[in-house]
Symmetry: C2
Subunit: 345 residues, 2 copies
């Protein structure tokens, strides 16, 4: 398999991207990489060029650029070139740690949607942080690709999430939940009430009802589906609060004198475990699900470990044929719909 990598995206690019790629290359003997970037910057960083092809690009999309305009204008940017390589079948998947909006736009407009999918959903793999919970991770989408979502988008997100959980996380008959402002089925605004009923009516979904944002990481489902707006707010609040709690503890230790510092020494393994659980390096990247190939981004401040783990995730996506299975499912749904409503076609 071959992965097209944007070598220039991210706060610490190209250094951490190259380092992460080399680590992943050593870990997976069946991956070959096309690295898109400025050879003058990238080449000196490559320690061993085995299965790494450096492809020269002359432009770069910066973090602050307006995404759609950027991908239209900068045809020779590392993001656009890597996406085109996937579109043209020269590579099987796309990876970047760059401008999120530009990655989403490149995925949507260059790689393209699966037939039957109206909007792709940005999918995060999040930790389950409830002690004693069986599962370790869950699938969360749309964590921010769309500021406004319709019913059919959320139903498609549920199916996309189901295929991901089954094939990439290996969950049998994954539990699907809807993020809502209450657990009872009559809770929510019009959109969420309606989506609840429609999810319930889907025969092929193991729908377990609503979850509230307070229980996001509590392991109540294997897939939590939401409109992009709400999911983004809940995810940011969760990440922000986890960080803030660790800052408060750190601050308390620093200002707590010798006693607190001793306490810290004793509790260090506990804090390390929690920081690892809540850390962003462990779970790989965010996948733009609903596209014809894996388009995966990791955050701009990713380290080499995060890059390596994200590539491991792409490896599982390709190996499990999750996209092919999703394409086949939505193809079938579409042809059934066409048979059901012949007069409309």
């Amino acid at each position: 398999m071959k992965i097209a990598v944007d070598a220039m995206g991210g706060d610490n690019a190209p250094a951490v991207v190259v380092e992460g790629v080399e680590r992943a290359r050593d870990r997976f003997k069946d991956i070959e990489f096309d690295l898109f970037g400025d050879p003058q910057q990238v080449r000196p960083l490559i320690k061993d060029a085995t299965r790494i092809n450096l492809i020269e690009t002359t432009e770069m999309i910066e973090m602050g650029e307006e995404p759609v305009r950027a991908i239209r204008k900068k045809k020779d940017s590392s993001i656009v070139r890597a996406a085109v390589a996937v579109k043209e079948g020269q590579a099987d998947a796309f990876f970047s740690a760059g401008n999120t909006g530009a990655i989403l736009a490149a995925g949507l407009f260059i790689v393209g949607r699966i037939k039957g999918i109206d909007r792709p959903g940005l999918t995060s793999i999040l930790p389950i942080a409830k002690p004693g919970s069986g599962a370790k991770n869950f699938v969360y989408l749309d964590s921010g690709a769309n500021a406004e979502s319709k019913e059919k988008n959320l139903l498609q997100f549920a199916q996309l999430g189901r295929f991901y959980a089954e094939n990439v996380l290996g969950v049998n008959n994954p539990r699907i939940a809807l993020l809502n402002n209450g657990t009872e089925e009559d809770k929510g605004d019009r959109l969420h009430k309606e989506v609840h009923q429609q999810l319930k009516a889907q025969g092929d979904l193991n729908f377990v009802g609503n979850v509230e944002a307070s229980a996001l990481l509590a392991g109540e489902a294997d897939v939590i589906v939401s409109d992009g707006w709400t999911a983004n707010a809940a995810l940011k609040a969760t990440e922000g609060t986890a960080k803030m709690m660790l800052t408060l503890i750190k601050n308390g230790i620093e200002n707590g004198g010798l006693r607190a510092k001793l306490g810290y020494l004793f509790l260090k393994p506990v804090f390390k475990k929690i920081a690892k659980l809540m850390g962003t390096s462990t779970y790989g990247g965010a996948v733009l699900l609903g596209l014809k190939a894996p388009v995966v981004k990791t955050h701009g401040s990713a380290d080499a470990l995060a890059v390596e783990n994200t590539i491991a995730q792409i490896h599982t996506m390709i190996e499990s044929k999750v996209i092919e299975k999703t394409v086949s499912y939505f193809g079938q749904v579409q042809s059934e719909e066409n048979i059901d409503k012949p007069s409309k076609n």
Copy 2:
């Protein structure tokens, strides 16, 4: 001043309500209480009846009841009777720890809106959890009274929050921010983009721009305004994550052997401080702002301290005349609008 108290609402009512009322009565010599409830249950709990009038009610609205139907049918419930007392001027404010929906409905339909306010906003006073921040609390609304909000609602929330911060928290020229999915002014869906521009255009507001849910408790503003849907999700995620982090630490200590337990002993003051900062007892209740009188609820699991602090908050609201000032402001806005558009009237 007189406060109408629903003695029957809350998981531990009437015991903690009565205890909290007695503590507040001892603390504030100028408050008199009308306690609405079942005398058989309430009377034996009152240790000292000074400035406490027990008023018999025969019905109770349960936690799970459909709110609007409940307040229409149960005319002799403690919630409805207390709200009617406020409406009829027999009391200056309403307090309950009961069914949130019923409190909101009683506030809206019995106490009534201030002229010029389309929708009241549920207002929480939250802690600022960034070490070294100057301010200690901020005003957050609408934390869940409305599942769907319009532009004018958010603009009114901003003004309501400003009056509260100025008068009740004593903040001079409070900084107002909009909860949004990015800090740049072009971020957000249509509603939030439009509200941003309109807040910016309000001459009497110290608008400081957008804040993201990740920075909710970071002290970037004295008032954070949001539609009820998003604010509810962000608040629940924040509260849920703070609790979860404490659970993870507790679990780590319990499973960390003697070493971790020793560490806990040394760090106990730090954890206590954080638990107090993030705790719900400290900051009083949630106010339904935009009504003709203070209508304040505390959470169902409130203890006597939370009841006492919520009554202290009501005391400040009455003393500061925040409602009168708000009424006067919106009255003026309305008459200016009427002068501006004479043909419409």
